[in-house]
Amino acid sequence: MVEVAFVAAAFAFAAMAAAYWYTQIVRGDYYFRLSENNRLRSVAVTAARGVIYDRRGVPLAENEPSYTLYLYRRETTNLAASIDTAVALLGLPREDVERRVARYRTYFDFVPIALAENLTIGEVAAIEARSAEHPEFAVGVGQRRLYTKTASAAQTLGYLSEATPNQIAAQPDRYRPGVAVGQRGVESAYQDLLAGRDGERRIIVDSFGHETAEESRVDPVPGRNLTLTIDQRLQDVAERYFQNRVGSAVAMDPKTGEILALVSAPSYDPNLFSRRMTAAEWATLVDNPFHPLQNRAIQNVYSPGSAFKVFLAVEGLAGGYVTPETKVYCPGYATFYGRAFKCHKKEGHGWVNLREAIRGSCDVYFYTLGKRMGIEKIAETARAFGFGKPSGLDLPNEKSGLVPSEEWSATVRKTRWYPSETISVAIGQGPLLVSSVQLARGLAGLVNGGRFPRPHLFLSAQDPQSGARFEYVDETEQRMKIDPSIVEQVEDAMWAVVNEPGGTAYLSKLAGVDLCGKTGSVQVVAQKDTKKEGLLPFAKRDHAWFIGFAPKRNPRIVVAVFVEHGQHGASAAAPLARDLVATYFGVPVPHPAPPGEPDALPPAPTALAAARPPSAPARRAPETREVRR
């Protein structure tokens, strides 16, 4: 009996040893990996994002520390009391705190819960002072993006927000869920440059998730600081003018293509994106009928109106369709293909040559020129000046615009091209669509005598560690051949527009600098309805254009200003161009163009556009996030 028990017991011990052999020897490697995973955790160390400066070193986007309150449930014996403490200490909304805690109910209790972001220094001190009684609270330090000029150049700079699923799918090795990634604008275009390379700390943690030691670390490589071509002084002038206005403005160095100012209005505060935006704030942004997130300078295209005439004039002379002396009689209208086309000047310009036609913006002259050239030649000219394709500006999602032609009409529009449409296109109306950046680039090419530098915002990048600088190199400059005498004649006509009595922008004449330019206005509704424009509802008023350059000899700045529903290029757009040029050359302006009237726009939720002062804390997720390997 005992012998049987003896053998059975011996067998039981042998079987147990065999089971341990299986667990420890056969499956040993598997469990060893699991134990390593248990104790090792990878913590991403976010690289400091590069600072964005304007061309003179004014910081536009920088980083500032942000403090987040975390709750470690494992450290608390009474969760409800801990919530009470946090609510009382920081004056947090109780429902919000309880919702955040509830969201983590199914997680391990060593996973910290973010209770509140962007604590003030005072709040941090209050929590640290109570750390003995309340070990469950911890303050995490992170960084958040601060856009120092709030809504200024917002669409140009872009913003940071959590990586989208598409971005993560495209670069899974770089982006993790929850990581702040540049969206739109420069932040997006130069994301890789600005972001640097995140580092990684492999830490040994205990079962509470507390760090006990650091196993290894890879230091982050900070992002490069980016200097933009923007001159914030010019940007400020334009932003001020566009308060309560809708439109865009571009100022550019024609020699280099450097963008000096790029405005799109209405704007928004990109700091809103630095924290989790509320649904209401997001709705206000996307429901705004003027789409503040859009960069109107590159993403909205319009008819160029009379601003197009200067490009037509170049080919008119070069192709021999007119000579400088060719005169056309303008009685205030002209009849083509059995239909009367009005000149914007009802009483007519009388006999005008090319210079006078540009100065007074005579439509009849350009109707005649356009008819002589035909739509194909007009289209060819427009394309030569860069219309119908992206300008190449270093921002994402630029629109191409549209250069109509017979082929376009047949293949895209699927109707016949009517000859009368050619007459409209000759004065920049009809299906022709351009953006302000395209106009600025086209004008730069014109005043350069056929050299088209690529418009760009990137001036240089600097490595904050080595100090190495990377300058912009233009490899895509385009050229066309224009006779210098033709350039001179068109430039002279544009000088007359501003500087001679009878010029459409004579009121914007600037003492000290020869501002040259061309006005334009774009009909929104048929001409016969626009008799009493001032009384028209906002949405039906004409758009206003002004393109210009200065000085007349050897131009150093070109500008394109577009004011949506601004009615007249001369009154709504040219004054800003004048102020930009005056600011650029440091010339005093006796009466700077005022911002729009507060009630100039129809009621729209634009309050967010400039509401937030830079001191108001924008909020963002903490810098480091834990990822379980």
């Binding site: 005992v2 028990a5 341990y20 420890q24 040993g28 943690v205 205990d206 079962s207």
Partner: protein, 363 residues
């Protein structure tokens, strides 16, 4: 006392592995409680080992036949704290199985187990039939199931189960008839089905976790998973003393008590496991051998009962570490931290030694 050793009355083949296990236990408790919330508990454990060794010598000095004679009063007295617990006990981890006095806690079920073994021995001392009579069978069931039920109601299923080997010893070595075995087997299956309905929620959860450990990684399955990781990651030679990441970083739950064997497996590897399992096997097999030496039936059954309890606890606990059995909260005799466990285990070793020392009449 000295005479006992001198005349080789103390069985060193049993005592030496026991002492070796005590040494291993001290080492492991020291490692498992390193920098812990309670400080280093090895000192306290050493104290309890001293108490246990004194008890062991006491048991060795007293003639077990005297104890058998008084086994019923001892048994009855040992049930009182269990009753007290049921009525006044404070719950520790769901369970009222600890009596507190002074700063110390004490688990009376361990004492009841020894008392039951004594009563069992006394029963068979006077039960000389070749086959187990039905009346004796009823007595056997009654004496084991009463403390078993009291502990079960605490409710501590694991501790209650440690009484079962006494029942099996009585049934098997008392030569119970085959048809009773069959009847009892049927009753057992039926009882399990009904019992399931009466199990507490956390007890059911433990059993469900045993069946599907992956279903609940953060809760009850967590313990099994972490102990399997600890054991498996030890490999052949282990991670080294006090270098076990699973135990030192606190992934392993109750590592100084119920899960002490996982600490051993992690820090000393399969070789350490082999050594300790061999030591236990030496104790158990030597115990069985000593049972055949006993000079009377009572002594034999006492040794068998106590050895079976030890064997059962060792196999259940070590199997628990790697998920062979559900986690039931049974300490590992001699290794686990805990005063009552180590003291009562040593006392029962003393009883076994006492039987062996008196194998020849009039010693």
């Amino acid at each position: 006392m000295r005479g006992l050793f001198q005349r080789r009355r103390v069985d060193t083949a049993l005592l030496l592995p026991v002492l070796a296990l005590l040494g291993v236990g001290l080492l492991l408790v020291a490692s498992a409680t390193l920098g812990g919330r309670f400080g280093d508990l090895a000192g306290r454990q050493a104290l309890w080992m001293g108490v246990g060794l004194a008890l062991m010598l006491g048991m060795l000095a007293v003639d077990y036949r005297v104890l058998l004679k008084f086994s019923f009063p001892i048994y009855a007295a040992s049930l009182l704290p269990l009753l007290y617990l049921l009525v006044f006990g404070r719950r520790i981890a769901h369970v009222r199985s600890w009596v507190r006095f002074g700063g110390y806690q004490f688990q009376p079920a361990e004492v009841a187990k020894i008392a039951t073994a004594l009563l069992l021995a006394y029963l068979f001392e006077n039960e000389q039939d070749r086959r187990l009579r039905p009346a004796a069978l009823v007595k056997l069931f009654a004496m084991v199931l009463v403390p078993c039920l009291l502990v079960f109601l605490q409710p501590d299923l694991g501790l209650a189960l440690t009484f079962v080997p006494l029942l099996l010893v009585g049934m098997y070595f008392g030569r119970m008839r085959r048809r009773y075995w069959a009847m009892l087997a049927i009753l057992f299956v039926a009882g399990c089905a009904v019992g399931w309905l009466f199990l507490k929620g956390y007890q059911k959860q433990r059993i469900e976790t045993f069946v599907h450990p992956e279903a609940d990684v953060s809760g009850a399955g967590y313990q099994v998973r972490q102990s399997k990781i600890a054991v498996g990651s030890g490999g052949l030679v282990g991670k080294g003393y006090r270098r076990g990441t699973q135990s030192q970083l606190r992934f392993l739950p109750v590592r100084h008590t119920d899960f002490i064997f996982a600490v051993l497996a992690e820090e000393f590897g399969f070789l350490g496991v082999l050594v300790v399992l061999s030591l236990y096997a030496a104790v158990v097999l030597r115990g069985l051998r000593l049972a055949t030496h006993a000079r009377d039936r009572g002594g034999a059954f006492l040794v068998l009962g106590l050895t079976a309890c030890l064997f059962f606890s060792v196999i259940l606990n070590t199997g628990m570490m790697i998920g062979l059995f559900p986690t039931t909260g049974i300490p590992l005799p001699l290794l686990s931290y805990g005063g009552s466990s180590v003291a009562t285990t040593l006392a029962s070793i003393g009883l076994i030694l006492s039987v062996e020392a008196r194998r020849f009449a009039n010693a």
